[in-house]
Point group: C2
């Protein structure tokens, strides 16, 4: 962007970050697109580190996403290389070549097979990735690797993010202390050409890939797959977790093993915290909105209805205007195509039921609703009155800031 | 609205309107919500007039939509009563009662069965319709019925519309001159199936209901169901056609009868003209955008992809910023969930192919593209390179005006 964006009013400060045994990180300025800032992060993982990942469902993914999916066919990871400023998307054969070149160069430096190197790019779509600049910056990136590189790494992967995003949890597996720490970037499907949500989590826990993968997939469903800023899906989204195994917890082979209960809760909690930071940095966002749907035909139906409400421009602009316009919520439920009975539908805002069983609640107290709409965190609840299906999703309001950011020329 | 909205820069003047034999209209101020303007239109049809209609697919339709669906079970229509300012949606039992009361009062005045009276309401959702005000205004509405009431009727049904919408065609059936004329309203909550969109067409042609219904349904698919402003689907939409039969054209029983070819083309053309007026009045719109998709797996797939592009906030804001941001078009194709092959995808803006077969066209001439983006009518073409499926949809850009209007609709 030509001039820096103002920091989101919903921003969160970086938490007290620690180190993850077996992980070293660095951030350098490779000059991929931006000047005067770091734009390349390298993470080195100790041999034996196991990886799991969830990638964008966009049918036109970037070359790095294809590379990572392939690399994940073996469980091990030795490095993660992420650049900001260029997404290496829709770059044809040249994009694939760029990935191979970057992976080969990193593998040589760290003395590992190329398929143990994971790659990500975020930024402009359709412009060839200047891999020579990235490769030229690799030696410096290796030289600067350090245990405490997390905060710098979080900053290096920002595009139009207005604040760096990280989260940490300390828990136990069978009494053995383990740590989970992660960073993320994203403001939804970010500003001019800058598309993507990236999140990387590491733990020193010892876990087999099948367990790690299913933990990540279920955690993602309740976090990164339950947020939306503008309904647009990046071509580069990815969420990955790396387990170094340096904590000497007893190996757990079953994702449902009670020994993993605390770890699973902490991981899900951390993923949601990171996901909500992305919403808090949503382009132009001034309010964080939680939409809870209950009484739906199924959980899937509830999820679809919640997303339909969360993606409705009319609902989002009403929230921006601090207008408790529940009629637009009814509209959004109705347009979702999911089972709904107008005469059983109930809507609450900020805990006050405004509409019940298909009609307005006579003489409901508007005061708390009006006060709630003026706050920074808005809660909308919808009960379908049909079944037990429920879901929660988070979004932000739609403001002039979104138009400002996305209506401006690429610069 | 608190203050009148500025007229859309894409506005079209009212055409030279004529009369339709057997149709009289009037517009009065019932004070349903707005002050100092007409907000109630009444149309009277000669006995024997046949009706056909297409209604919203929103699962939470307004009471008037339910009334009209029921009324359409008999082919005849004697009256149409439409109010602006209150949508009579999500009003429970009271909403049904309001429809019955309005229909009964109209039927008594015009001496016809209540089920020959069609009703529509557009405006705020969730507030009880003040039917007493409407019923009190009916005698004046009847007294002012006139052949030339079309323009006044078009104005009376406006809500956030910034200009009245009407269109006319004069054609022949088997050499017999017949006329088609219609009015429409709508500018937001506009998306397929259908929009906060009301459209009423009348013709003096003599046509059976089955023919009229299938003509309207197919015409609607290519017009009102191929436009979107904000992806939101209203609870009140309807498109209806009334055929008075006073033209002495020979009766045609088969919709595919060649005698109807000219009439069908003219009707489809009129419906598209009205639909595009709705897009031209899209809330905050500064550009009319046509999205043409070819080479898709099927026509349905092409339609879904085109709508996905048309509803993408990032595509719409880029257009508002006059940014030929084809990368966002690629993103929107990819997120549609429809069959697409990144390496066969091509994108053109204003007739210039910017991307072909999965990559940027090297050294394409940017000048005509930049010039095209500065215009009021934008054309985006996408070829999937997969099959013969094609579709065209129309939308508008997403601007600050949309936020202004929808952040304060009820104020």
């Amino acid at each position: 962007m030509a001039k820096p964006l103002p920091v989101s009013p919903l921003a969160r400060p970086l938490p007290d970050l620690a180190t993850i045994a077996g992980v070293r990180l660095s951030a350098v300025a490779a000059g991929v697109r931006y000047q005067g800032r770091t734009d390349l992060m390298l993470a080195e993982f100790v041999p034996g580190t196991v990886a799991a990942g969830v990638y964008t469902k966009n049918a036109c993914p970037g070359a790095p996403v294809l590379w990572c999916r392939e690399a994940l066919t073996t469980p091990y990871a030795r490095a993660l290389l992420v650049n900001a400023g260029n997404a290496n998307v829709f770059t044809g054969r040249a994009g694939i070549q760029a990935c191979e070149d970057c992976a080969d160069a990193t593998a040589q430096l760290l003395d590992c097979p190329p398929q143990d190197v994971f790659l990500a790019s975020t930024g402009v779509i359709g412009e060839k990735l200047p891999q020579d600049r990235i490769i030229a910056a690799l030696p410096a990136a290796k030289a600067e690797l350090e245990d405490n590189g997390w905060a710098d790494a979080a900053r290096a992967i920002m595009t139009t993010d207005t604040f760096p995003k990280a989260a940490r949890r300390d828990v136990k597996i069978n009494g053995t202390p383990v740590r989970i720490q992660g960073i993320a970037k994203g403001s939804g499907m970010v500003a001019p050409d800058m598309a993507t949500m990236l999140a990387y989590v590491a733990t020193d826990a010892k876990l087999p890939q099948n367990v790690l993968q299913s933990l990540l997939a279920s955690g993602c469903a309740q976090s990164f797959n339950s947020i939306t800023v503008d309904s647009d899906t990046s071509t580069s989204d990815m969420l990955m977790i790396f387990a170094t195994g340096l904590a000497d917890n007893p190996e757990v082979d079953d994702v449902n093993d009670p020994a993993l209960a605390e770890f699973t809760l902490a991981l899900n909690d951390l993923l949601l915290e990171l996901a909500l930071m992305v919403v808090r940095d949503g382009e132009g966002a001034t309010k964080l909105v939680r939409i809870a749907v209950t009484g739906a035909d199924s959980n899937l139906s509830a999820h679809r209805i919640a997303l339909c409400i969360a993606n409705s421009p009319l609902v989002k602009t009403a929230i921006a205007g601090e207008d408790a316009n529940w009629g637009r919520v009814v509209m959004a439920v109705g347009k979702s195509g999911e089972p709904a009975d107008r005469d059983r539908l109930s809507v609450a805002i900020g805990g006050t039921w405004i509409a019940k069983d298909g009609g307005v609640v006579e003489n409901y107290d508007e005061a708390p609703v009006v006060a709630h709409m003026k706050g920074q965190e808005i809660e909308i609840a919808v009960d379908l009155g049909l079944g037990d299906g429920e879901a929660r999703v988070w979004t932000c309001d739609l403001t002039h800031g979104y138009i400002d950011i996305n209506g401006s020329y690429r610069s």
